[in-house]
Symmetry: C2
DNA sequence: TAGTGGTCTAGACCACTCG
DNA sequence: GAGTGGTCTAGACCACTAA
């Protein structure tokens, strides 16, 4: 029995009393289960909306309410003119903030790719957090991180030029941020503050992370200092909300 | 000029090209601005959907797409048979995780109310996090926190009976958790681990926090230990996603 | 060019809330 | 009973994508 047939059987199950739970909610539940059970595997394309609507015995409008919620949750992604696809949220990556850059990933095929690297005046946010003078320059690097060929983290980092004047060269040579730190004479550092908020994806983030616009994300803004207390990095990152669990450990007892 | 008139003027502004941005998105933007600008104050009721639809010159269905997104974001709340209301997200509360219980609030009228206090076997989650034996009992306390008479934090705390056998009495007497700690001989403690995730509100959470079901929330799960390393509390909390900023500070340098 | 998802309409019925 | 938000339909037109 192929996927379409099994999906059809799922769709054709009788609905519970409409007044108990709305039809579109029941469709939402069934499609969600289909994704979680693996009937609709990660990355696979759903039948067209007209087909789905007739399978579930409803109008396209009603069907779309179910799809729409699944998209807002970041579980499905639609591409205009192409189709609706399953976005994996089966894994929830654990990110240990104390490990700073080395995010703990289950799989080994994790890549952190630099999208761009430019020298420019610090953003207002970074200038304040790093205590920079107005107009002071930074090296800004945009990163995207994948796991199992799904993007799940997007970050913009700013490194003061005054601290690491040759960041671009050093990063190029060593291929890692820690390498660039070391090349600038920074052997140890401290992530002094991390601020976490929830928000909705911007258009750029939605594109890069393969989620819908308006899908919720977790944002992190953090500052790194070297062991002399000098601010060396400002980082803004975001994850699709359901894709990550942030873990903070603490060793400092309270009074 | 009253609110309805000013809202009408906002609604009657010509729409940008439909192909640039959809009508419902433009309505969404305008209503969002109306909330942020204070034209629609916190807690106020919007005109009925029929009225709004005719004000904006669209069908109720189209208008509802705008309202629906604002509700998913936790900025509006609807009450069936009553109306649609503005939920304040103008403030984003800063919660310093290192201060554990004493959340930094701008205003002074913050209350932490206990909803229930019962003795029962530890939840599976808590038992694992606290290292309890199967079936071991805890005192479970459910809290809701308000600021400016808006609920913005809901927490379920579990305290092992083996550590604080008289928690209920001590909490009653002192009126605070720290008081109950002290009464049990715990003078200092350590929030050893905090795990942050994003999720969607359950029905109970949506009710208590005055947000829509399916509105995103930030969840925190944390463990407190006393200065001998004994686990004394397991806490599960959640905030409406847009209402909070979590701040973590770190004093431990990396290797 | 055919198929896809995105938008919008006009109208209907319902359950819920409150006076 | 009057007004509210919640649901659903049947049909239409559009822009985008890929073959």
């Amino acid at each position: 029995m192929n996927v379409d047939q099994r999906l059809l059987r799922l769709a054709r199950q009788p609905y519970a009393d409409k007044h108990t739970q709305s039809i579109w909610m029941q469709i939402y539940d069934r499609l969600g289960e289909a994704v979680e059970s693996g009937l609709l595997p990660e990355g696979s394309r759903l039948p067209g909306e007209d087909d789905l609507a007739s399978m579930f015995g409803v109008t396209r409008v009603t069907l779309r309410r179910a799809l729409s919620l699944l998209q807002h949750e970041g579980r499905l992604v639609s591409r205009k003119g192409v189709g609706v696809f399953v976005r994996s949220i089966s894994v929830r990556y654990e990110v240990r903030e104390t490990e700073a850059f080395n995010m703990a990933l289950n799989g080994a095929d994790s890549r952190m790719d630099a999208l761009s690297l430019v020298r420019k005046p610090a953003s207002a946010d970074a200038a304040e957090a790093l205590g920079l003078k107005s107009g002071e320059e930074v090296t800004e690097v945009r990163f995207i991180q994948h796991a199992q060929s799904t993007p799940y983290y997007y970050a913009v980092k700013e490194f003061p030029v005054s601290v690491m004047p040759e960041f671009a060269r050093d990063y190029e040579k060593t291929g890692s941020i820690l390498g660039a730190y070391a090349a600038a004479g920074i052997e140890s550092y401290l992530r002094t503050e991390t601020r976490i908020t929830g928000d909705f994806a911007t258009e750029e983030e939605a594109d890069l992370l393969h989620i819908s616009r308006q899908a919720p994300v977790l944002r992190s803004r953090s500052v790194n200092e070297d062991n002399t207390g000098r601010a060396i990095e400002y980082n803004r990152g975001c994850w699709p909300m359901l894709s990550v669990e942030l873990v903070f450990n603490n060793k400092t007892p309270f009074a």
